[in-house]
């Protein structure tokens, strides 16, 4: 019984973490774009005259969205029109359950993993769920029965499936070095040191793999350098016929994808919850210092550093979104098929050769 209670608590905590971070990413996006464009950004939402640089804005937006009309047009296919945002939301959101937030917590003789699903096919689970999200896009565009939404969903599907091949290929190299598909194990492998001082993170062993992964992942989030499915200024996108919270779910899915991609990048290429030089009992510096810490403090450190890394990549993605112009459709497909996939294959071959020589 206590097992199920622990799982429930973990699920609720992960859900709250994800939703709050999603809400605040909308705020961060508005503020960061404002800074980039020399504006002030959202700052009017206030409680009792307390403005707090617009920190209440996401909640205002959410409340506004909740009280909108539930509307699906007569010409749409009602059932699919309603389920499409649900599919899109659920399959992206569940991937958070496979992310390791810290090393297992020991309380007495009980071991609590800081991860909901510690399954041995974690990576395949995440990739599968992210691909299932494509159904949401196709169904929303098709069921809306509108030419522009259809165009958006076709572009979206073509783009996502093209970059998925590159996404898979870029992770093969990292799996070769850290031979496990279990995310907690991949993170544990990254705790060692290279040459005695450099943390053995994926980025130092697979720089090309990281580059391919990050570009493909940016394309998977469908945001600005790759925002053809949405294309605000030409076609409105696959969710043109949506309103209220159904549209809100699509927007939330977008921001959740940013978080998921940041989590994945952190887990595979930046050591996940690993803090440099932090072992299970405290810091051991290579130049000979020591700082012994209690078990709980170490876990806290790991959770904090994981969050910090995730925030950094969220910030980086927003920065990229507000810096670069949009690709043209053929440029986008060229980059996916003619650049990233061959590079991914070359990365695998080079990794194989180097590993065979070093061994």
């Amino acid at each position: 019984m206590s097992e199920i209670l622990i799982i429930l608590i973990k699920v609720v905590l992960a859900l709250v973490w994800l939703l709050v971070l999603t809400l605040y990413l909308t705020w961060a996006e508005r503020k960061e774009s404002a800074v980039i464009q020399d504006r002030i950004g959202a700052n009017r939402a206030a409680i009792f005259g307390l403005r707090m640089i617009g920190l209440f804005q996401p909640f205002c937006d959410a409340i506004k969205m909740i009280f909108k009309e539930d509307f699906s047009p007569k010409f749409s296919r009602r059932f699919l029109h309603t389920t499409a945002p649900l599919i899109s939301f659920v399959f992206v959101a569940v991937t958070i359950s496979a992310m390791p937030f810290a090393s297992p917590l020991h309380i007495g003789d009980k071991i609590i993993t800081m991860q909901i699903l510690d399954i041995n096919v974690g990576l395949l689970f995440i990739l599968a769920m992210l691909s299932l999200g494509i159904y949401g896009i196709i169904l929303s565009g098709w069921s809306s029965n509108n030419r522009y939404t259809m165009l958006g969903s076709l572009r979206g599907a073509a783009q996502l499936i093209s970059y998925e091949v590159a996404l898979g290929l870029s992770l093969i190299g990292i799996i070769m070095i850290f031979p496990s598909l279990q995310l907690s194990k991949v993170v544990t492998f990254q705790g060692d040191l290279l040459f005695g001082f450099l943390p053995k993170w994926g980025i130092f062993l697979q720089p090309l793999g990281f580059l391919i992964f990050f570009i493909a992942a940016l394309a998977e989030t469908k945001r600005v350098p790759f925002d053809l499915p949405e294309g605000e200024s030409e076609i409105i996108g696959f969710f043109a016929e949506y309103s209220g919270l159904k549209w809100g779910l699509f927007m939330m899915t977008d921001f959740m994808e940013i978080i998921i991609i940041s989590c994945l990048t952190t887990t595979f290429f930046f050591g996940g919850w690993q803090v440099p030089f932090l072992a299970a009992d405290g810091f051991h510096f290579p130049w000979g210092g020591e700082w012994i810490l209690a078990h709980g403090v170490v876990i806290l450190f790991q959770v904090l550093i994981f969050n910090l890394k995730v925030f950094f990549f969220c910030w980086l993605q927003i920065l990229i979104r507000w810096t670069y112009p949009r690709y043209r459709y053929d440029q986008l497909m060229d980059l996916g098929w003619k650049a990233l996939i061959p590079l991914g294959l070359i990365n695998i071959v080079v990794t194989g050769i180097v590993m065979s020589i070093i061994k």
Binding site: I4, I7, V11, V12, L15, I66, F67, K68, E69, D70, F71, P73, F75, T82, P85, L86, F89, V90, V94, S97, I116, L117, I119, L124, W142, N145, N146, R147, Y148, M150, L154, A158, I161, S162, E164, V165, G168, I172, I175, P179, L181, A240, E241, G244, L245, K246, L249, D330, M333, D334, K338, I341, P342, L345, I348, V349, G352, M355, S356, K359
Partner: protein, 115 residues
């Protein structure tokens, strides 16, 4: 494996609640212009959906081929450290065949998007 069940249950329930929240909390006022397709205000030219360009079908086909090949890489990558050189030679042949297929598709014009 009860975790997977609980995760899907909770996330699914949350999604369903969010989908139907507007129905109970929002207003419901229809008018004829709401029921028109959204095409930026101009009168729309044709109803419904046209046939889909065959290019998208080709992309889907290529994806199917290459993604299955990517899946074959995963078990190989897992045991690469143990098997060493043998695994490398075997997989090099596989990548070689894959590259030939890739170049063939390229030369046939499968990656030409603009016409």
């Amino acid at each position: 494996m009860i975790e997977i069940f609980i995760v899907f249950l909770i996330f699914g329930l949350l999604g369903i609640v969010l989908i139907f929240m507007n129905k109970f909390l929002g207003p419901s006022r229809t008018n004829p212009s709401k029921e028109k397709q959204f095409e930026c205000g101009s009168p729309f030219l044709q109803k419904g959906i046209n046939p889909i360009p065959i290019k998208f079908y080709l992309v889907a086909f290529l994806f199917l081929l290459f993604d299955i090949e990517v899946v074959f890489f995963f078990p190989w990558a897992l045991i690469f450290k143990e098997m060493g050189l043998t695994a490398f030679i075997v997989m090099f042949a596989y990548i070689f065949i894959l590259a030939i297929g890739f170049i063939y598709a390229w030369k046939k014009g499968a990656f030409k998007w603009e016409n």
